[in-house]
């Protein structure tokens, strides 16, 4: 059945901006305050209070728009979106309808088959976030916390250009990375600093007109988004196949149950009565202001990948992995600055770091150790203070607890022993104790020396340089 139909998807992505204060007042946007601690008359809609726009919000929105090839609206206003809900203290949300700050942008994504595809950005607008409602089971009521009320958001509305959940995930991934690179948001789906609503419709393959769409909310992970898309596409196709109509509605995804339900109420008229907010004055964006924001744009992923290959001689694959998160790229670059050893830094990150991240089910953004310590570890190894086996052991400790490698090596006495006479004693002892291997080696089985190296290293508690051990064993056995 799937082949007869085409799924058409557009996204509305809300991103919480990384400003220090809220969009219209001087309250902090920090997480984790006591209930209602981060509130004031403005963000709780107290009578007589008035909003004043945070300039940084405009700059972040512009930066994102420029990065997504948008046209910047030179003169815009804010509009009130009127609807009653207890998390919305004024019972209107200050948003932008008539003149959104950015329009007509695009993002290029790569499909599974490596084909590039452009996804259009219809608009980006700024708005304020709502407070949080916590359901109180015992008293069967809701408790309102306005700490998040007034936190700045941008809503990025795509064109209905996506056809599969893979494209949607690729789009979100790319979008997230661009915004993270800009430092405009940390874009964490789980924590709600990035939220995606999926607009989906289906139509018969080859048809030009779009079908009736639904809007899916409450999608808290990429996995949930993918599941919800499959589910909703199938639901709509089933409806159409059985001759029923799709109803234009907002649906809420229940990830635990793997299904969605309509959010309908006769008290929701969906008539938001938008009008220009008379409390806020229009904003004009000059050429100079755009130029300023442009000049501050960071190096994005594509440019970084190129530079890592040219400047550091890294292979494309490594450059791509290292730039896969802004945090990782930043980490890489600062470790390189300290150590001046790009390839070694890359090796540690690509190898051990990735292995441990996978093992502990962590994201690159969660790396705890400092670039300075990684540089230090590289230095210790290069100077022959520790051997590579010890280095791995130290690294694991560093990965877990960000220990200072130099201090740790000293405290634990892990320095390579360079005392030749001590090594001679151990080597001759090992030869004495393993006549069979000695015989094998002398009989032509060169691999047998490996066992002897191992035994020597063991006796040295790993603190010898394996190459020196190998060399010395060869000399002894040749005698």
């Amino acid at each position: 059945m799937g082949k007869e139909y085409e799924t058409v998807i557009g996204l509305e992505v809300h991103v919480e901006l990384a400003t220090k204060t809220k969009i219209f007042c001087g309250c902090t946007t920090a997480f984790g305050g006591a209930t209602n601690a981060h509130t004031c008359p403005v963000c709780t809609g107290m009578p007589g209070s008035l909003p004043v726009l945070n300039q940084q919000v405009v700059e972040y929105a512009m930066a994102v728009g420029l990065a997504l090839d948008c046209e910047i609206t030179r003169d815009f206003k804010f509009d009130r979106k009127n609807y009653f809900y207890p998390d919305n203290p004024q019972n209107y949300q200050i948003s932008q309808l008539y003149f959104p700050i950015c329009r007509n942008g695009k993002i290029e994504i790569e499909a599974e088959d490596g084909q590039k595809k452009q996804i259009g950005i219809h608009e980006i607008h700024m708005e304020e976030d709502a407070g949080k409602l916590v359901h109180d089971e015992r008293e069967d009521c809701s408790i309102i916390d306005f700490n998040r009320s007034g936190v700045p958001l941008i809503e990025i509305v795509s064109e209905p250009d996506m056809r599969t959940s893979e494209e949607v995930i690729a789009y979100l991934d790319k979008l997230r990375l661009i915004i993270q690179y800009l430092g405009a948001s940390d874009c964490k789906l789980q924590e709600g600093s990035m939220r995606a609503d999926v607009n989906l419709s289906v139509r018969r393959a080859g048809e030009k007109e779009y079908g009736t769409r639904t809007e899916m909310k409450n999608l808290n992970s990429f996995k949930a988004i993918a599941r919800a898309i499959e589910h909703e596409a199938n639901r709509q196709m089933d409806l159409l196949a059985s001759g029923e109509a799709v109803i234009q509605e907002t649906r809420r995804w229940d990830d635990a149950r793997g299904c969605s339900y309509a959010m309908r109420s006769k008290e929701d008229a969906k008539d938001y009565r938008y009008f220009p907010d008379p409390d806020l004055v229009p904003v004009h964006i000059s050429d100079a202001w755009i130029a300023e924001v442009k000049a501050r744009q960071p190096e994005f992923r594509t440019e970084k990948i190129m530079r890592y290959q040219e400047e550091f001689g890294l292979p494309y694959y490594d450059a791509e992995i290292l730039t896969g998160s802004k945090k990782l790229a930043d980490f890489f670059e600062s470790a390189v600055t300290v150590s001046q050893k790009p390839k070694k830094v890359s090796n540690w990150l690509m190898g051990e770091t990735m292995r441990l991240l996978r093992e502990q089910n962590m994201e690159a953004d969660e790396i705890r150790f400092s670039p300075k310590h990684l540089a230090e570890l590289i230095h210790l190894t290069d100077a022959g203070v520790i051997n590579s086996t010890v280095a791995k052991e130290v690294f694991e400790e560093m990965f877990r607890n960000d220990v200072d490698p130099k201090q740790y090596v000293e405290e634990k006495g892990l320095m390579t022993v360079n005392d030749e006479s001590a090594l001679r004693g151990v080597v001759s002892q090992v030869i004495k104790e393993n006549p069979k291997s000695v015989e094998d080696y002398r009989g032509g089985k060169e691999k047998a020396i490996g066992f002897l190296v191992g035994q020597t290293m063991k006796a040295m508690k790993g603190k010898a340089n394996p190459e020196s051990v190998h060399q010395m064993l060869k000399e002894f056995l040749a005698q």
């Binding site: 400003t19 220090k20 204060t21 219209f24 007042c25 001087g26 309250c27 902090t28 305050g33 006591a34 209930t35 209602n36 601690a37 981060h38 509130t39 004031c40 008359p41 709780t44 004043v52 726009l53 945070n54 300039q55 940084q56 405009v58 003169d75 206003k77 009127n82 009653f84 809900y85 207890p86 998390d87 409602l133 916590v134 359901h135 109180d136 008293e139 069967d140 009521c141 809701s142 408790i143 309102i144 916390d145 306005f146 006769k266 008290e267 008229a269 008539d271 009565r273 009008f275 220009p276 008379p278 806020l280 004055v281 229009p282 904003v283 004009h284």
Partner: protein, 97 residues
């Protein structure tokens, strides 16, 4: 009278404005609204095809705040007038379900 306000319209506006009118109030509201809208329809005598709308008393632009935290813990004031509160939050009728 050009404008006829139906019961449905009054009910609809009631949903938008969150107002519940009694039967008598509804009749009164219908009459008042019809009268006012008729009166407001006078504006249609004006040609405004080339006129920009004026949403503000006069032209001003680019009024901003710096992104600096100026407010401390506001919870006490936020809760000061709440009809019902619990656990530092404002209590409202249940919203989900």
């Amino acid at each position: 009278m050009a404008n006829m306000i139906s019961d449905e319209t009054i009910a609809y506006v009631g949903i938008l404005a969150k107002l519940e009118l009694s039967g008598e109030e509804k009749e009164r509201a219908k009459k008042d609204m019809e009268e006012m809208l008729d009166y407001m329809d006078q504006l249609n005598e004006l040609d405004t095809s080339d006129t920009e709308p004026m949403s503000h008393a006069f032209f001003m632009q680019n009024v901003f705040r710096k992104d600096v935290v100026t407010n401390g813990d506001g919870s006490k004031d936020t809760l000061a007038n709440a009809p019902e509160k619990k656990d530092g939050g404002i209590k409202a009728p249940k919203t989900i379900g």
